[in-house]
């Protein structure tokens, strides 16, 4: 395999074995993250983005589990590592920021301690003083004012933005190779969001880290991503470099997402929304999962799931209408379905 990619997800299937049946949250996802780039994963709520992230971090909870697929990180398949091997990678080589800064920090421990713990687990704190110094330094880098004082603050004493900065400090203190940020700014207001995104971009550029940023907000994607994957009902439906995607969206779902971005000066009365809702992943329709909501859907769309086809250099779309040339044979794209 080429070593340009830090992370390669190959034909990942993750399901939740609920009492009501098997919920296919991730359906044959292929996703690659080149070294030193910021890759976005977008899609509406409930389409399996977090499940994908949790599969990578091995944070799936019962009754969810990975059915098949490989997650190659620096050539190693994370799905086959022992718990111990995975623990060594977690926090040091791959770290994660979660959606909810309000609940992602332990309420009864000082934030400084919680960040320091990352150092200590990986045996990278020589002494108590040194660890503390490193944490305070990191706090300063992520823009926490009065870092020294904040070191011994409890989470409830910090605002949402500060808490998310603490989370970022925690995730970045060991300079991981990959940062997974699951909706890092969803819970924050717009000004804080912009600050946090800028911070993540700068830190990424500084340290050559790769980032997988998960969001349902195309604005966030436009702000910092270089490459974007669009996910729908557990499938990757389109992926392309950022400018390609915004200039020439191929998949009707991506087009719908673009059309529903509110524009300044636009009439809110005419704000577009994609009709319908994400189908219940317990009962996925035959054929293209988006066919139920797609205005261009034809008979054919409801029967067979289209392959991901290349439409341009590095631009792929899972739609029969995508004016693509050749479908990708051999690779697992779309093939992992029963």
């Amino acid at each position: 395999m080429s070593s340009d990619y830090l992370l390669e997800i190959e034909d990942l299937h993750t399901s939740i074995y609920t009492d009501d049946g098997v919920l296919r949250a991730v359906n044959g996802v292929n996703l690659r993250i080149p070294k030193g780039t910021i890759v976005g994963l977008v899609g509406e709520s409930g389409c399996g983005k977090s499940m994908t992230a949790r599969s990578i971090m091995r944070l799936l909870r019962h009754p969810a589990r990975i059915d098949s697929g490989r997650i190659l990180f620096g050539g190693k398949d994370l799905t086959t590592l022992t718990d111990k091997e995975m623990r060594e990678i977690s926090g040091r080589d791959i770290s994660m920021i979660f959606q909810e800064p309000m609940t992602s920090l332990n309420p009864v421990l000082k934030v400084g301690f919680q960040v320091e713990e990352t150092l200590r687990v990986h045996g990278l704190a020589a002494s108590k003083e040194e660890a503390k110094r490193k944490v305070i330094e990191m706090f300063e880098r992520v823009g926490i004012p009065e870092a020294e004082k904040r070191y011994s603050a409890y989470p409830h004493e910090l605002s949402g933005g500060l808490r998310q900065r603490v989370m970022i400090a925690m995730a970045m203190i060991l300079k991981p190779k990959l940062l997974i940020a699951d909706e890092p700014t969803t819970a924050l207001d717009v000004t804080i969001e912009a600050q946090i995104l800028r911070l993540m971009r700068d830190l990424c550029k500084e340290s050559g880290m790769s980032v997988l940023i998960i969001t349902h907000n195309l604005g966030v994607v436009a702000e910092i991503c270089e490459y974007v994957y669009v996910m729908y009902a557990g499938y990757i439906v389109e992926h392309a470099p950022i400018f390609d995607l915004f200039d020439y969206p191929r998949h009707p779902y991506t087009k719908g997402l673009m059309a529903s971005i509110p524009r300044i000066g636009g009439n809110p009365e005419y704000l577009y929304t994609i009709p319908g809702v994400v189908p219940n992943l317990l009962h996925l329709p035959e054929g293209c999962p988006f066919s139920l909501r797609c205005s261009a859907a034809e008979e054919e769309c409801r029967k067979t799931l289209p392959e991901l086809v290349r439409t341009d250099e590095d631009h792929f779309s899972r739609c029969v209408k995508a004016c693509g040339e050749q479908s990708l044979e051999g690779r697992a794209y779309g093939a992992g379905r029963e």
């Binding site: 990678i89 977690s90 979660f98 909810e100 009864v108 421990l109 713990e117 990352t118 409890y154």
Partner: protein
């Protein structure tokens, strides 16, 4: 510390209210203390004199005030039956009861918290079902049943431990287990359910994502959060064990406060009964104060507010 003082001062009205309640309740129950004290055949004159000496001829409210002022001076009156100051009777009996309650609590906490943790970690697996089965039994079996059962097995059959108290610590082991059994059950269940909840929290994922071992995640992150309600329960139980000791002390013939109370009831010894009930009340009040203090030590959110 300031908040503790505030809490203590705030408890004074509660304390007086409780004493009033006890005082009134004990006056409502039938049985003339003078008659109890003297028996059948005494002249009206003697009865009158004694009534006067015991302040029983004064209005009830004045009696209460007199009693109250006595209490604040450490004087709980004279026991009618034992003819000794109630205070000294209680002080003699108290150590036995305190030791018993402490032993029972220690048993309940270790067994309860320990099995609660194991059950939570092995959630829905065999150890969980076994421990929770035991704890349900612990909660539902009354003290006298478990006491008799323990006596039968460990004293009568196995002859490992004495059947009743001889003043030694060893002889308090069975009573402590019998008394602690109930609490162990409820502590176990509360520990388990809180720990299970805590393990679902978002910050657990954060901790795991750092690369912490399961053990570190459970003991360093989840347990602390789940212990808050358990500590409240434990502190309150420590004090309620003092009252729970009534049954245990009778069964194992332990000369503690519980036995004193039983005797007082049987002989209608009002001052003594009043004194023992008062002691229990104070214990409960201090138990909840202790719970609050511990709570604020563990939970920083409360500490700052106080």
């Amino acid at each position: 510390m300031k908040s503790v003082m505030k809490r203590l001062i705030g408890m004074i009205p509660v304390f007086i209210g409780v004493m009033l309640l006890i005082f009134v309740l004990l006056r409502v129950v039938p049985g003339d203390p003078v008659q109890v004290l003297l028996g059948e055949h005494y002249s009206q004159d003697t009865i009158d004199r004694l009534t006067k000496a015991m302040n029983l001829d004064k209005p009830v409210f004045e009696q209460f005030l007199l009693y109250l002022s006595g209490v604040f001076h450490g004087d709980l009156g004279m026991s009618y039956v034992m003819k000794k100051p109630v205070t000294s009777l209680i002080m003699e009996a108290l150590p036995q009861t305190v030791i018993l309650a402490l032993m029972a609590s220690t048993f309940a906490w270790f067994v309860g918290i320990g099995s609660g943790i194991i059950a939570a970690i092995k959630q829905n697996k065999a150890p969980d079902h076994i421990f929770m089965g035991f704890s349900l039994a612990g909660i539902s079996v009354p003290v006298f049943m478990s006491a008799l059962f323990l006596q039968y097995v460990f004293s009568f059959k196995l002859k490992l431990l004495p059947l009743s108290s001889d003043g030694s610590l060893k002889s308090l082991i069975l009573p402590a287990i019998a008394l602690g059994w109930n609490s162990a059950g409820s502590v176990a269940r509360l520990t388990r359910s809180n720990l299970v909840d805590a393990l679902q929290a978002d910050y657990i994922d954060t901790a795991k994502a750092k690369g912490l071992t399961n053990r570190a995640v459970i003991f360093g992150h989840a347990l602390r959060n789940s212990m808050l309600p358990v500590i409240t329960l434990m502190a309150i139980q420590l004090s309620s064990m003092m009252s729970g000791a009534v049954v245990t002390e009778s069964i194992f013939a332990i000369p503690g406060v519980g036995r004193l109370a039983t005797n007082a009831i049987q002989t209608r010894d009002m001052p003594l009964l009043q004194g023992t009930v008062l002691l229990t009340t104070v214990m409960v009040i201090f138990g909840s104060l202790l719970a609050d203090i511990l709570y604020s030590v563990i939970d920083p959110r409360i500490r700052r507010e106080a």
